[in-house]
Symmetry: C2
């Protein structure tokens, strides 16, 4: 039976995950599994995995790596008691040679012995902290997608992985910019502190009202645009590498982990761990 977002918001992670796993829920995860770390997903052939891990290590702000599966093992045992990456994300995008070919709600038939699944931190974590501190985030209050831009900040390349840093933008009251910076800096697993504050042109963005992804937001007087590295970066970088196969989460449809979003490290103690 299809579950509604409002019903699942009231329940614990076990119920949410069971619903996602069974196909009973296939929509976005913002606000679900409260206070748990959510993650971007990238599944690629092992052949490219070492370079991708190097890419994440070299670009920790856009690509905060929080989990890496064993090759061919779909169980992400460091992120949850029971996470099967073939079924536990509400919706997936399948790319072949860099082209989106399909969106699906489970990938059991695509999983093979040579795939590696990577989980990367996402902005939900620090947005949650900003909201708790009384910041109003327009895109959330108005139920649209945060505006994202291709910046002139180049990532540090590794193997076939290279390209511009994609940034997300939030308008912050001038007098609270410093506070927003400090709050987000506490979450290195969720992009950390901003990569730029102020003039968009300084990082190659000519028109704030024309984002490359997401929706345009108002620019009220007394507010400053603040730019954070964005999880779309690794997706764009892997797409341009045109791997034979790439599986990602569908934007907004994240992996919900068992890790508290304030955890110092993204690792849980797990009795099911291979020994």
């Amino acid at each position: 039976m299809l579950q509604s977002y409002e019903t699942l918001r009231q329940t614990g992670i076990a119920t949410v995950r069971a619903q996602i796993r069974s196909g009973g829920y296939a929509s976005h995860t913002a606000g679900l599994g409260r206070n748990l770390l959510q993650a971007n997903l990238a599944i690629i052939p092992q052949e490219f995995a070492l370079d991708f891990m190097r890419f994440c290590q070299r670009n920790p702000k856009p690509c905060p790596l929080i989990g890496a599966s064993d090759t061919g093992n779909p169980i992400l045992f460091t992120l949850g008691q029971d996470i099967d990456i073939r079924t536990d994300v509400p919706a997936y995008n399948i790319y072949r040679n860099g082209q989106l070919v399909q969106s699906v709600t489970e990938i059991g038939d695509l999983w093979t012995d040579d795939l590696v699944a990577f989980a990367l931190g996402c902005s939900f974590t620090f947005e949650h902290a900003l909201i708790e501190a009384g910041f109003e985030l327009w895109h959330i209050a108005n139920n649209v997608t945060v505006p994202m831009y291709r910046s002139s900040l180049e990532t540090v390349p590794a193997g076939p992985f290279r390209g511009p840093t994609v940034v997300s933008m939030r308008m912050i009251p001038e007098e609270r910019v410093e506070e927003a910076v400090a709050i987000s800096a506490r979450f290195p697993l969720a992009h950390g502190s901003p990569v730029h504050v102020g003039d968009p042109a300084a990082i190659g963005i000519s028109d704030l009202s024309a984002p490359d992804w997401g929706d345009s937001v108002p620019q009220p007087a007394g507010h400053t645009p603040v730019f954070w590295a964005c999880g779309v970066t690794p997706q764009a970088v892997i797409q341009q590498a045109a791997l034979p196969l790439l599986i990602t989460h569908k934007p907004g449809h994240m992996l919900i982990t068992d890790v508290p979003d304030t955890a110092e490290i993204p690792i849980i103690t797990n009795k099911n761990m291979p020994r």
Copy 2:
């Protein structure tokens, strides 16, 4: 000409690195290149590199990865303007099949196209911060090596890499334990907050006065033993994996990077970066 430690302590990183590179200095690096991140080193064949990166991701406290070279490229371009890992560490240990076979001051003749160099954060960084905050660290004040112990805390395995977490211990005044925890937590690239505070038996250590590595230290009244994850862990874990070749720094003889030890991320902007 051999340079003395006291002479190099007064000079900048360029001079220190030039002396190390030329073989003019081959001793320990504590206190050199002040305020720069120092690193543990592990060089292994590419065949094992993906599992080692997974191991570091799964065990970020003992193994805070701060740099990974391209396969076969000895230039660590994310950690410095000019770091050549074949010459820029004062002394190296060479292991074959898990056995120490030689200590050398440069590895130009051992470097091959299939090697990958990894740099991992070390405790110098948070010790420096503790000292700045007025903590007296007995092992430093008395010029001995911090006591280290094999604990009962198991690492999360990856491929051939597995084994106990090695911890280092510092006696901290009871009333300042919380402060020491908070200070070290600010340095996730240097082992972060302690893994245990108090009773050694709780993490499998039966006799504090008999460390597995380093020197025994006094246990004054009113002090609590505080245990941090230690950079010896990856070395012990790689040794037990008995790889055909492993090259590490000689203990205490670290790689000095160009990265400030308070940096949010361990990446420098580098004009020499491959594109």
